[in-house]
């Protein structure tokens, strides 16, 4: 039973790995290249590589393998485009600004500008920032996936916030 579970070559285990990590991987690739189709093609390529090497990769190393493969493939992709984002549909219940139409308008404006600012962030800050904000990854996970130190993640997060604040100031 145990060797079956540990073996990525097992088709059902491989499927579980896909279901668990495909979306995070696709988002990560998207944050970096800014093209949805390209990111999804790269996801396919990463998993095909994992399948070919399934005998060498235990289940617990699968995620690391996928992100490393994604990183390597990404180095070959030249175009860094802006990403397209949107806000979640659910509104926060404690939004006190909604009562005042004027405030609400300002709020919506702010959100649009923030979204655009994020979309146009430099690629390496953007990837780290969104992996944390959208995918809810911890700094440690991000560090592992990008093969960098946690300190480097902290720096990129710091620079991302500085960058965003500056961008918002410039436009207003």
């Amino acid at each position: 039973m145990k060797d079956q579970l540990d073996d990525v070559c097992n088709k059902s285990t491989f499927r579980q790995v896909f279901m668990a990590h495909a979306e995070e991987l696709r988002n990560f690739l998207y944050y970096r290249c800014g093209q949805l189709q390209q990111a999804e093609d790269l996801v396919q390529e990463c998993f095909v590589r994992l399948w070919k090497n399934c005998a060498k990769v235990p289940v617990e190393k699968a995620k690391g393998f996928l992100f490393t493969a994604g990183n390597n493939l990404f180095l070959n992709q030249v175009k860094h485009q802006k990403v397209v984002l949107q806000y979640r549909q659910t509104q926060r219940p404690d939004n006190s600004n909604r009562a005042d139409p004027q405030k609400l308008l300002e709020y919506e404006e702010f959100r649009d500008r923030l979204r655009e600012a994020v979309e146009n962030m430099p690629e390496n800050q953007r990837a780290v920032f969104l992996m944390n904000r959208i995918d809810g990854m911890t700094y440690k996970e991000i560090a592992q996936n990008l093969d960098i130190g946690v300190k480097a993640v902290e720096k990129r997060m710091h620079r991302a916030l500085i960058h965003l604040r500056k961008s918002l100031k410039k436009e207003s």
Binding site: N27, L114, E154
Partner: protein, 302 residues
């Protein structure tokens, strides 16, 4: 103290709840704090187009469909090994050959390397044809004349003793308690009881095992066994031995209770005619016989 302006990990640590209490308190007093907090909180509401995992999986399944590169699990390896061993075992066992002759029947047996064994009547020869070239070993009961091609050790095992050669021709006689070897050409090593008693024979030498003295004695039988040409020759051999050979040749069952089986006999009998053979052996010895089919009763003439 660290602030977001002089420490380039400050905001990163703040977002991860890693600031010291003092750092956090000081930061929360700054005018920029609210701005950063709004940015961080609102950014958390961002999302990307969801990934269609079902579609992704079916696309991936097409690409990974047939090429399963599984490492062979140990069970498959073990099963394969077991099958291989069993197959080898069966192959070896089925290599076992046995040739048996009836009374009066002579049969030439060709061995895998082209050596031959001519089997005399009422004899049995068995050997394994597998791995023949690496060790030529045979089991004999009865009598046979071997012509051995050059090669690895050639060994004939019998109930009493063994004969080892490299390349030669020789006769082995091993019936009941008798064990005799005649070497026609080359050299042979004759041994009894796991090489405890040994004798080396050169061309045209013969030896017989004497169980009383536990020795291999020289036999002055320079002409060699004549059974191959259809006769048995004896020079001062016990009549019991001749009776034994008549049985092997003609399938007789003798009743020997009334005669002395140690009396020496010199002479011969021919294989062509059983009645003539009986006459040739017993007439000169003064032994009377009554033959009824295969049963032959012997008694001393009054």
């Amino acid at each position: 103290m660290s602030t977001y302006e002089n420490d380039d990990t400050f905001l990163g640590r703040w977002l991860n709840g890693e600031l010291t209490e003092a750092e956090r308190m000081a930061f929360e007093q700054t005018a920029e704090f609210e701005e950063f907090k709004t940015i961080a909180d609102e950014a958390k509401e961002l999302t990307v187009k969801p990934y269609d995992k079902g579609m992704g999986w079916s696309e991936l399944s097409d690409k990974t469909g047939g090429k399963v590169k599984r490492m062979m699990p140990w069970r498959v390896i073990a099963a394969t090994l077991l099958l291989l061993i069993s197959a080898t075992f069966v192959w070896y066992i089925t290599g076992r050959q046995t040739v048996e002759t009836l009374a009066g029947q002579k049969q030439l047996v060709s061995l895998p390397d082209g050596s031959t064994a001519l089997l005399n009547g009422q004899s049995e020869l068995s050997y394994n044809s597998r791995f023949w070239s690496s060790g030529r070993s045979l089991q004999l009961s009865g009598e046979a004349f071997f012509e051995v091609n050059e090669g690895s050790e050639f060994k004939v095992n019998t109930e009493i003793g063994a004969v080892e050669v490299l390349g030669t021709s020789f006769n082995v006689y091993s019936r009941k308690t008798s064990f005799e070897v005649y070497c026609q050409t080359g050299r042979v090593v004759v041994s009894v009881d796991n090489e405890r008693v040994e004798a080396i024979l050169s061309a045209e030498e013969a030896t017989r095992y004497n169980s009383d003295t536990d020795k291999l004695e020289d036999l002055n039988e320079a002409s060699g066994p004549a059974w191959q040409i259809g006769e048995n020759r004896y020079k001062s051999q016990p009549i019991g031995r001749v009776i034994q050979d008549l049985s092997a040749q003609f399938g007789f069952v003798f009743d020997v209770d009334f005669i002395d089986r140690d009396r020496p006999y010199t002479g011969l009998f021919l294989h062509a005619d059983p009645d003539q053979a009986l006459e040739m052996v017993f007439e000169p010895m003064g032994i009377a016989y009554v033959r009824n089919g295969n049963a032959v009763r012997l008694f001393v003439e009054e």
